[in-house]
Amino acid sequence: MSDTPLSKSDQPGTIARLLRDGQVRAVLAQLFVVGIVVLLGWIGISNVLENLARQNIASGFGFLDENAGFGVNQTLVDYDAGSTYGQAFWVGLTNTLLVAVLGVFLTTLLGFAVGIGRLSSNWLVAKLCAAYVETLRNIPLLLQIFFWYFGVLKALPHPRDSIALGEGFLVNIRGVYFPRAVGEEGIAIVLFALLAGIVATIVLSRAAARHLLRTGQVRKIWLIGLGLIVGLPLALYFVLGQPLGLDMPQASRFNVKGGVRIIPELIALVLALTTYTASFIAEIVRAGILSVPKGQSEAAAALGLPNGLTLRKIIIPQAMRVIIPPLTSQYLNLTKNSSLAVAIAYPDLVSVFAGTTLNQTGQAVEILGLTMTVYLLLSLSTAGFMNWFNSRMAIRGRS
């Protein structure tokens, strides 16, 4: 810096002093970095514009209204070959969300089970769970997806020799089929009863929990809950004359028609994502439980609480505070990893939009930009939700 030529009006002494001044240096350093970032951005963008112009490639989002013209094999929103690229985008997005939600739900169950299993007093169970974790988390996810899709599901029979698992449940290489419930008159009442039963059971169990805290007595409410959730709606269902029709899957010339179908791509993807992510969640859960001081479970035992209740009421709630932050990042990983769908033809966002649509239109910048933005938003909103959940779970001071 000292040999930078200075203009005559500047006094060298002042400049040198200014440069030594921490605040001035901070401002200069920031301007310098911002300058570099802006410069890089400018060079990049000007190159893109120049290249696009030279190559005559269209730009802008006008293509979203153009006819897509390709078929997709799983659509949760209205879509056919006559729809637009914009609609294809929504198809991809909803399919991604479906995998993410299913995956997060299932992997949480499996991950907690394996994590608790690793700490089991049963030697064999603990070792099995450990083997599960060490095997699955050290094998690339993509390989596991291929394994399930091209290895395991490939062994399923052709549609003509479908395996029938009871009335209306079919399994073949094209997917798993089961009857679609078609509601008739009166079904709303049954569903309402079911909902009411669930709500009532939750209220009851909370009351029982308070009762337990106050008196130390365990109230068995599961029988009442069962009656409310299963018994009442079932009784109503028969009273109202079974207001539910079934649309049975039926073999036709090529495929099974009717009923609900789960495509094998979805099955393979969810299976792989679930089992892979569960191996990480299991470790997180184990670490969380180990972080709860041993005195806690000893105290619970001294109070005479049964093992399961200790785990549910004492250990897990405390462990959750350690578990939630890393669990959040596993949920995010699962969501992002669902993009590997592109390798096995599951029509997720990357496959339908950043794959097919990009290939047909060639508008790489717009399409990849939009795709990345969607994932960013998903990540940020999941992280935001889990932060909120975490703050709710945090230890609150006693009043």
Binding site: A26, V33, N51, E134, L143, F146, K336, V350, M372
Partner: protein
Amino acid sequence: MMLNWMRANLFSSWGNSLLTLISLWLVWVIGSGIVEWALIDAIFTGDNREACLVPGAGACWPYVGAKWNQFIYGRYPLESQWRVDLIFAMGAGALIPSMIEGMRGRRWFVLFLLLPFPVITYVLLTGGMFGLAEISSDLWGGLVVTLIVAVTGIVASLPLGILLALGRQSDLPLIKAICVVFIEFWRGVPLITVLFMASVMLPLFLPDGVVIDKLLRCLIGVALFSSAYMAEVVRGGLQALPKGQTEGAQALGLSYWQSMRLIILPQALRLVIPGIVNTFIGLFKDTTLVLIIGLFDLLGIIQLTFTDAGWSTPQTHNTGYVVAAFIFWIFCFAMSRYSQRMEKRLDVTGER
């Protein structure tokens, strides 16, 4: 003795006994399945697919034997494969001593790995210098590419990650903002979109006439992606250091960069070695994604061999996947064990 142990650990209650029986059944089903497939029903000899077309055959091992060279070297020319072997030997020769704590001259091995080694590797692999035949990167493949992508990704992301972590910890609001945005962006998007970006979007960002090799484009994408994760790992190390360290450095009159270089980073980086190894494991597994953009890493090459009509049998796919899984597993398992050991060591030193 044995009986007592079993009673205590396997059959302590009715529920436990049931669990034990279910577990035993699981172990039997999985274990016998594996043994049957990999050993009893497996085919061990043969020159082509005919050998493995026996009904009810298990693994097709001769296929692995026939393609093993491709698994490791891809399509790298046979007569030049000694160059790859030499790199492997040098890498292993320097890596092992540099992983052992208390090894004399350890610092030199690490220094060799970080500075001259990448240059030597580059020269040996590409050739075109010192009388070595030039070998285009289209021909690289197999485990070589897997290792190149993973190692380059981690080595290149380390300095960038450190800078980003320092930037995120910095008091300067603009720098902090830039770093936060950069880190959160790369952490928020899936690697596959980054690779798509590198393969179809990056060329648009370059001036007309400049072309970057596909492998290098992919490496740039991977390095940017992993630098964000690396930054978070390093940040963890920085936060774990007691504030007294920075204050002490300031009291000694050290400048920001001096205190970082001499006091803070050496300690923080030592703390985060397990984190770095874990990031590396993740990256190592993620290298398989490059096959989606048409590079042939280990898994990509194995998939490529499936298309060889001379070896297409019902068991070729499974055999190939199992081999790939086993190779990846060995690498990842060994590294995770190493990182767990480091973690324990660091814990002990922390408690002094």
